[in-house]
């Protein structure tokens, strides 16, 4: 590789990105140095093993990635607004939809959900941290360096351009000779390892660390969805790991797993990808169902209707999610019997999902509904998700799918379920749990502005796409001619996308505004919550609970408030709290992963091997690490508790 090929050149947009990246980095370094914050950064964040801080870092990364993926989306909409636009050329457009899809699913939706679950799950089950705090930090940093590796592709070496599905043989060396798809294979691999470890970590946490009295059937709904999600992660992600490893071999060492010649089988990639890929969409949607359940129940002031059926239906959905993957390629010609089988399993998912929708509606019924921002997102989810859901059933009908497949009908469908499901849930969860993270609320007025702009913009953007699909517009087209009659709907869609963009900017402003002027949450329970996280102070003390609460009911904190018991803290009974020590090793190992990955991308194997040695060294050092953590003294707990409890 020549140095002239190392940096991507020739596009004004790229040069602008180069400049802004350099300026941002200089800005960050300057601010950290000027305010002498380097040590703070290292002690408080880079080395932390506290689930709450890790959760916050996940969410910050997710919002940054939402910005990146959103800019990609706006560039695409700009290009498609009018026929025969010359704004982006074909190659550039291909890169942008590839990174948009990959980033939004893997580096936006996943970390947002994982961030919320990091913050909330230990609090909801009355635990002081996750089962493996060190591993948790490593999970985050692996995700983070994976995301960064993927994100530098567009300025260094070139973006992947074979679609987020990276179908072979297109994604193989023959048709995609650059380094772009190496980035895809390696970056996803690194962050995927992090995700797999998160799945194991939270499974163990939820199974082993619940407060006394919290049986499985007394777990808050969000925790239930995370438990099932962890099972999905543990079964699905190894498939991705294997598929990406084979892809990496194909691309770096010219093996022939997925190629056209020498016995390779490109259909194998499509199967492996979707055996992971379909459970993956449930990995981001089930926790969303959990978030909506919590928010709806809180703001309707009612217990969740049909809790057992809700648990049963997520288990059912999780099971079905593993036997539907072929519906992503009914058109591959697998035959009528195979297609019929997968049609029926796919449609069957509508049954447990329908049960959930009705249970939410009946949770609202007879309630006293408060329209907070978090609640607005959760309520909007119901009608919008139903639209996405019923069109999903239409897509599941194999014979009809031949007409929808790969068209904008499909695009509209999966944005309706992923945005109205996952993105709405992330925003609902952000507003709902924000005081737990930072001790202040997000401004409700600005929050509602974001909600209406984004929700209306979303419908204006994606609803027309159903019809564009029926008109024959296929996904991934970078332009179209005027005579097809697609122009009016495309203009409408672009207007909607712009509204969503404005909504996002209002959210960013809200984060800044609320940090400066936002209402401080002194009570720890600003929403009159029902579950244990609201029994802690806001922001939550380092050790979460001075005394582990006893759980007597499904809505444990609600029960405590109703009975008036369980709040009193007997200072005599306090014991020193055992906490894990911070460690810089997860961060440093992940940096080594970054360089190993970078080396693999460019086939600089010396660099990759040196970095791999550092990774192994990190593992060995960890094995000989006999730091058992430390104890927080009773005096310190008393001091902290008196401070927060007096304020309350």
């Amino acid at each position: 590789m020549k140095w002239s090929e190392f940096f991507v050149t020739g596009e004004p947009l790229i040069y602008a990105a180069d400049v802004s990246i350099v300026l941002t980095v200089i800005g960050i370094v300057f601010i950290l140095t000027y305010f002498k914050k380097w040590k703070w950064l290292w002690d408080e964040w880079l080395t932390t093993v506290d689930h709450k801080k890790i959760g916050v870092m996940y969410i910050i990364s997710a919002v940054l990635m939402l910005f990146r993926g959103g800019v990609d989306a706006l560039l695409m909409r700009a290009q498609l607004t009018a026929p025969n636009m010359k704004f982006l050329d074909s190659q550039h457009y291909n890169e942008i939809f590839t990174t948009h899809g990959t980033i939004m699913i893997l580096f936006m939706a996943m970390p947002f959900i994982i961030g919320l679950m990091n913050i909330v799950v230990p609090l909801q089950i009355g635990a002081r941290d996750v089962a493996y705090p060190y591993l948790n930090a490593l999970s985050f940093w692996l995700f983070f360096v994976g995301a960064m590796l993927f994100n530098i592709a567009f300025v260094i070496g070139g973006s992947p351009d074979a679609g987020w599905t990276a179908y072979f043989p297109l994604a193989g060396n023959e048709f995609s000779p650059g380094v772009g798809n190496n980035y895809y294979a390696v970056a996803l691999q690194i962050s995927g390892i992090g995700t797999l470890m998160t799945g194991i970590n939270f499974l163990v946490t939820i199974l082993k660390m619940r407060a006394p009295g919290m049986t499985l059937m007394r777990m808050p709904m969000f925790t239930w969805t995370i438990l099932i999600t962890c099972v999905l992660i543990i079964f699905a992600f190894p498939v991705l790991t294997v598929a990406l490893a084979l892809m990496t071999f194909d691309r770096l060492f010219d093996t022939q797993f997925f190629t056209m010649a020498n016995g390779g089988m490109s259909m194998l990639w499509a199967n492996l990808f979707w055996i992971w890929g379909h459970p993956e969409v449930y990995i981001v949607i089930l926790p969303s169902f959990g978030i909506f359940s919590e928010v709806v129940s809180t703001f309707a002031r009612k217990r969740l209707f049909g809790y057992k059926a809700m648990v049963g239906s997520i288990v059912g959905i999780a099971f079905l999610s593993f036997i539907v993957w072929v519906h992503h390629f009914f058109t591959m010609g697998a035959g009528a019997a195979v297609n019929s089988f997968f049609s029926i399993t796919t449609m069957a998912i509508a049954i447990p999902t329908g049960v959930k929708i009705f249970n939410w509606l009946f949770t609202l019924r007879k309630g006293r509904i408060r329209f907070t921002t978090a609640m607005l997102w959760s309520l909007a989810f119901i009608p919008n998700f139903v639209i996405g859901g019923v069109t999903g059933v239409m897509l599941a009908m194999a014979a009809a799918d031949y007409q929808y497949h790969n068209s904008y009908f499909l695009i509209a469908h999966f944005h309706y379920v992923l945005i109205a499901g996952t993105v709405f849930a992330c925003f609902a969860g952000l507003h709902y749990w924000y005081p737990k993270m930072f001790g202040h609320m997000l401004n409700e007025r600005l929050g509602k502005w974001t909600f209406w702009l984004f929700m209306i913009g979303f419908n204006v953007c994606f609803f027309p796409m159903y019809f564009l699909g029926l008109m024959g517009m296929t996904r991934r087209m970078y332009t179209y001619s005027a005579g097809l009659g697609w122009t009016p709907l495309n203009v409408v869609a672009s207007v909607g996308a712009a509204l969503m963009g404005i909504g996002f900017l209002v959210l960013c402003y809200n984060i800044y505004y609320s940090a400066r002027y936002g209402e401080r949450d002194m009570t720890g329970d600003p929403w009159d919550g029902r579950t244990l996280e609201w029994a802690t102070s806001s922001p939550v003390a380092h050790y979460n609970f001075a005394v582990i609460p006893e759980v007597k009911d499904l809505d444990a904190y609600w029960e405590m408030k109703k009975s008036g018991k369980g709040f009193e803290m007997d200072e005599e009974k306090l014991k020193p709290i055992h906490m894990p020590s911070n460690s810089g090793r997860p961060f440093l190992i992940s940096i080594a992963f970054f360089f190993a990955g970078f080396g693999l991308v460019f086939k600089w194997f010396t660099l990759a091997i040196i970095a791999a040695v550092f990774i192994i060294l990190g593992l060995i050092l960890r094995s000989f690490d006999d730091d058992d953590g430390y104890y927080i003294s009773v005096d310190e707990i008393k001091r902290t508790e008196r401070l927060t409890r007096k304020e309350a």
């Binding site: 209707f305 069957a348 329908g354 249970n359 609202l364 239409m394 194999a398 007409q403």
Partner: protein, 304 residues
């Protein structure tokens, strides 16, 4: 604030109507011109009915609940009851989706099986061999011994058996007005039956991303009366130039080409669906492989 929102919300269905009236003539999927597309159209309409029903039920329930149980000054002292659930209701709303799914599954399965076969038995299907290449469509008529690029003529009311394959990335062969799509894959053969009811020109395109020139990978299907079609075939056989291996190789090079017509087919020296690298386990020059026999063909079928 709320009133304004409602006003806007009421505009939504209205604007939808304007869309639909303005664009309906462009919705190719909803304007079937053959029995295959018609089968799919009927299935779509059948499903849309159920879907609208579900949407109406959920939306009405949603609106009623929100309006009745919203927080207002009058109910400030109202404390919602603690209800755990209602077994009967939950059985009802489990059963209804099951019924709907069944009502959709039966015609789906029927149609899925039906589409694997030609729509009429009395007429012998016309076989056209389709090769997708970066970024053009090559159509070979083995019985007529002619070949076209980026357009395909078919007779009306005759089932056409498209045998799909690809040289390179996986493409998807889609003619919305004649019927749904199917993938064309390298070293494979997939079959798609389509049929046109009436003469006309129908847009066809690649629906699966294949790289740089993908957007422009379109073709035209021209359905003609049987007489016109036979006349056209004869014309081509007599007047069109011969396709040579060299010419064919230039056509296959990545890029866009215009329409072309030849009085022989590339199947004389290569059939990309029978490259057989999957079965012999060694690389063979594609161009030497024309002689691969029907026995191999069966193996391919089992792999589809």
């Amino acid at each position: 604030m709320k009133q304004r929102v409602w006003k806007w919300a009421s505009l939504l269905p209205l604007s939808l109507l304007i869309f639909l009236s303005g664009c309906s003539e462009n919705m190719l999927v909803l304007q079937p011109k053959g029995p295959v597309a018609k089968t799919q159209y009927d299935l779509i309409v059948w499903s849309v009915g159920f879907m609208l029903l579900i949407i109406v039920v959920v939306f009405v329930l949603f609106a009623v609940v929100l309006i009745r149980y919203r927080e207002k000054p009058e109910n400030a002292n109202y404390e919602p009851p603690e209800e755990e659930g209602n077994t009967l209701l939950e059985i009802v709303w489990t059963a209804i989706p099951i019924i709907i799914v069944t009502a959709l599954a039966i015609p789906t399965v029927k149609a899925t099986f039906a589409l694997e076969k030609p729509s009429q038995k009395s007429v012998k299907p016309l076989t056209i061999h389709v090769t997708a290449a970066n970024w053009k469509w090559i159509f070979s008529y083995p019985e007529q011994n002619i070949e076209t690029v980026n357009y395909v003529n078919i007779p009306e009311d005759v089932p056409v058996k498209f045998e799909l394959t690809s040289v390179g990335p996986m493409s998807s062969f889609w003619v919305p007005q004649l019927g749904g799509q199917k993938y064309a894959m390298d070293g494979m053969e997939t079959e798609l039956f389509l049929e046109a009811d009436e003469p006309g020109s129908y847009m066809g395109r690649n629906a699966n991303f294949t790289g740089k020139g993908f957007t422009h990978m379109e073709f035209e299907v021209v359905a003609q009366t049987k007489d016109d079609f036979n006349k056209w075939v004869k014309d081509v056989q007599q007047t069109a130039p011969k396709l040579s291996k060299e010419k064919y190789d230039t056509i296959l090079k990545p890029g866009l080409v215009g329409r072309m017509t030849f009085s022989n087919t590339h199947l004389e020296w290569v059939d990309h669906s029978k490259q057989n690298s999957h079965h012999t386990g060694k690389t063979e020059d594609h161009r030497e492989n024309a002689e691969h026999d029907e026995g191999m063909h069966m193996e391919h079928q089992s792999h589809q």
